[in-house]
């Protein structure tokens, strides 16, 4: 069966034109065909034969501008772990970012300066497990990513043709006009379908979508019918505003057509282990839900951000008294369906916490496990900078590139026994579409030993990609000298 595909691709590539020369590529810049850019998808002409009965009729109005601002905020959360969700702040930031991104200078310095300013403003908004902040270089990278999205700077994306002698200026401008209109329609589609990721709806749910034909100066009014495995929704768009009215409200009237289609309950994926030990009672929780939801912890709503894929992330901080607590996290979707998970948090001031590199982990003949830790210190902020200078790792008067420093100035090691119930969490790359980028995966001692011996085996053996590398940098939580929790430190 697989060979059939091979034959198919061979035929498909058989008459592939020669690849473009370097000169061709370097001078083409953006030259997509206007036809390509203007078309989203024109489905079959027939009306669907069966549409479930109407259940709910709602009229709503959403701003295309909201999409622009939320898009930037999502990148900021997903790439850097900073929850800056103030629309006014993003409006201001986008203005500055777009000035730099589309300005005459292609130097990276102004963007780096902006990144520093924004990190300073968002100092208290980190949702990283250790509360750290990203480096300016990382943040600048995310700002460039925001700029690269045509929706971020809709007034600015048109390229200057100055100095581009070999470019067909008329074709370029026609393509950009088409792109501009495409942005309008993409926004309209996003709103009508109430989804951030139209591609996913089409590809994974085999949706039927018929939408605006924008060949004319004024977008025509059409119906959008989305037929997915999860829900039916019919949306009726008002006229798409003219270009100068880009930020005007788009009127979208849609009806929920829930009918015979079953709405799946939310699926919650915890960002860490289901049992957490804490010496101080300060606990960071995080998780991921596969659809838009409201999340409550012990009945109180917590902040939820929405990914471009439509999934929801919930970072939360708890402060608990000593004792054993059962924390219930509940996610409820628009259809009223909910799911819950429980986390056990053991708060004990008598627990010890050590930091270091696990250099060895081995199983004794009686089946118990022991580990060897190369003791170290995790330092942040000014303390980190001073320590790095003291250790000769950083020249006097210099700044650290990242806001942390691991001091490991001697070869002192410690040996610990591991409890049979020891919880080990490692940093892993998130594999789904969209999502938080990095999550925590729970493993047992045997799996950790395997990873230390062959770190590349994680994908094959465990089904996920380990972010770390031996020796893992960890926080060890000890109860009466025995390791009960191993948490890998996130290192950007």
């Amino acid at each position: 069966m697989d060979n059939r595909y091979k034959e198919g691709f061979e035929r498909l590539l058989a008459d592939m034109d020669a690849a473009p020369s370097w000169r061709d590529v370097s001078t083409q810049r953006v030259a997509p065909s206007p036809d390509d850019m203007a078309l989203i998808y024109l489905g079959p002409e027939e009306e669907p034969t069966e549409i479930p009965p109407n259940v709910v009729t709602t009229t709503t109005a959403l701003s295309a501008e909201d999409i622009r601002l939320s898009n930037a905020a999502s990148v900021w959360v997903n790439q850097l772990g900073l929850v800056q969700d103030d629309p006014e702040e993003w409006r201001r930031r986008l203005e500055a970012i777009c000035d730099v991104g589309y300005g005459p200078s292609q130097s990276s310095t102004p963007m780096l300066d902006l990144a520093r300013d924004f990190i300073d403003m968002d100092t208290d908004l980190s949702v990283r497990s250790d509360g750290s902040l990203p480096s300016p270089e990382e943040a600048a990278e995310s700002l460039w990513m925001i700029v690269a999205d045509p929706r971020s700077c809709p007034e600015r994306f048109k390229s200057t043709t100055e100095g581009l002698d070999d470019v067909d200026v008329a074709a370029l401008q026609a393509a950009e006009d088409a792109l501009e209109k495409l942005i309008e329609v993409r926004n309209a589609v996003t709103i009508a379908a109430d989804t951030w990721f139209l591609d996913m709806v089409i590809e994974q749910n085999e949706s039927v979508l018929r939408l605006a034909d924008i060949s004319g100066a004024e977008a025509r009014r059409r119906q959008a019918i989305i037929d997915s495995t999860r829900e039916y929704r019919e949306a009726e768009l008002g006229a798409v505003p003219a270009l100068q009215d880009r930020i005007a409200l788009l009127q979208v009237r849609y009806r929920e057509l829930l009918g015979e289609t079953e709405v799946a309950p939310p699926v919650i994926t915890l960002g860490g282990a289901a049992t957490i030990y804490s010496q101080t009672g300060a606990v960071s929780l995080s998780g991921w839900v596969d659809q838009p939801v409201v999340v409550t912890i012990h009945g109180a709503a917590v902040f939820v951000y929405t990914d471009p894929s439509g999934a929801s992330g919930f970072p939360a901080e708890l402060s608990l008294d000593p004792g054993t607590h059962t924390v219930t996290i509940t996610a409820t979707n628009d259809a009223g369906k909910s799911s819950s998970v429980e986390i056990t948090v053991i708060v004990d001031p008598n627990l010890d916490v050590e930091f270091g590199f696990i250099t060895e982990i081995s199983q004794e003949s009686d089946g118990t496990w022991t580990l060897t830790s190369d003791d170290a210190e995790w330092l942040t902020g000014e303390e980190a900078r001073i320590a790095a200078i003291e250790d000769g790792e950083l020249p006097e008067g210099s700044e650290l590139g990242r806001d942390f420093y691991i001091r490991n100035i001697d070869a002192a090691t410690s040996q610990f026994n591991i409890s049979s119930a020891t919880i080990i969490t490692l940093q892993a790359h998130w594999a789904g579409s969209g999502g938080p980028g990095i999550i925590e995966e729970t493993v047992d001692a045997n799996a950790l030993a395997m990873l230390m011996e062959n770190p590349g085996s994680a994908e094959e053996q465990l089904g996920w990609s380990w972010m770390g590398w031996p020796p893992p940098i960890v926080w060890l939580t000890l109860d009466d000298g025995v390791v009960v929790q191993i948490a890998e430190q996130y290192v950007p």
Binding site: F9, R29, A431, E459
Partner: protein
């Protein structure tokens, strides 16, 4: 290595990949759009740790984002509508053209370029299990189309 040299090293791979995803008529456009976007940024191609991997991921994202006409338009050949017998190869190409871009990328990289699922996952920016799922879906589609 200059940016021009880097591009020369990877361009045929990129063109083949893009052609498999969107067809030869728009492959060049997809490649040039992605490459010029990288060139416009500080560091350009020379600033990438693994230019081939980065550019292949970018091409897949570009294809998915722009929803090329060649992948979005219903591909219906007259011969099939008429119930006429088609050469097998044409059926296979029909199936390929109807695959969603991620399934198409996975099928191309594993079945044609003979990467392992793990290697394909790195190029596509997802995990091997996801690649296997795409391959399963692609196989199912082919089976349905050819045997069903």
């Amino acid at each position: 290595m200059s940016e021009s040299d880097i591009y020369e090293t990877v361009r045929l791979d990129l063109m083949r990949y893009a052609t498999a995803l969107v067809g030869r008529n728009t492959a060049e456009d997809a490649v040039s759009t992605v490459v010029t976007r990288v060139l416009a940024r500080p560091g350009g191609l020379g600033g990438l740790r693994d230019p081939k991997q980065y550019l292949m991921r970018s091409i897949l994202n570009e294809v998915r984002t722009r929803r090329r006409q060649t992948t979005r338009q219903p591909v219906v050949r007259v011969g099939i509508l008429d119930g006429a017998v088609q050469p097998v190869e044409d059926h296979v190409i029909d199936v390929i053209e109807r695959l969603p871009s991620q399934q198409r990328a996975a099928a191309f990289l594993v079945f044609y370029e003979e990467y392992t699922p793990s290697e394909a996952a790195k190029l596509m920016g997802c995990r091997p299990g996801t690649v296997r799922r795409y391959l399963h879906l692609a196989r199912t589609k082919l089976r349905e189309e050819l045997d069903g």
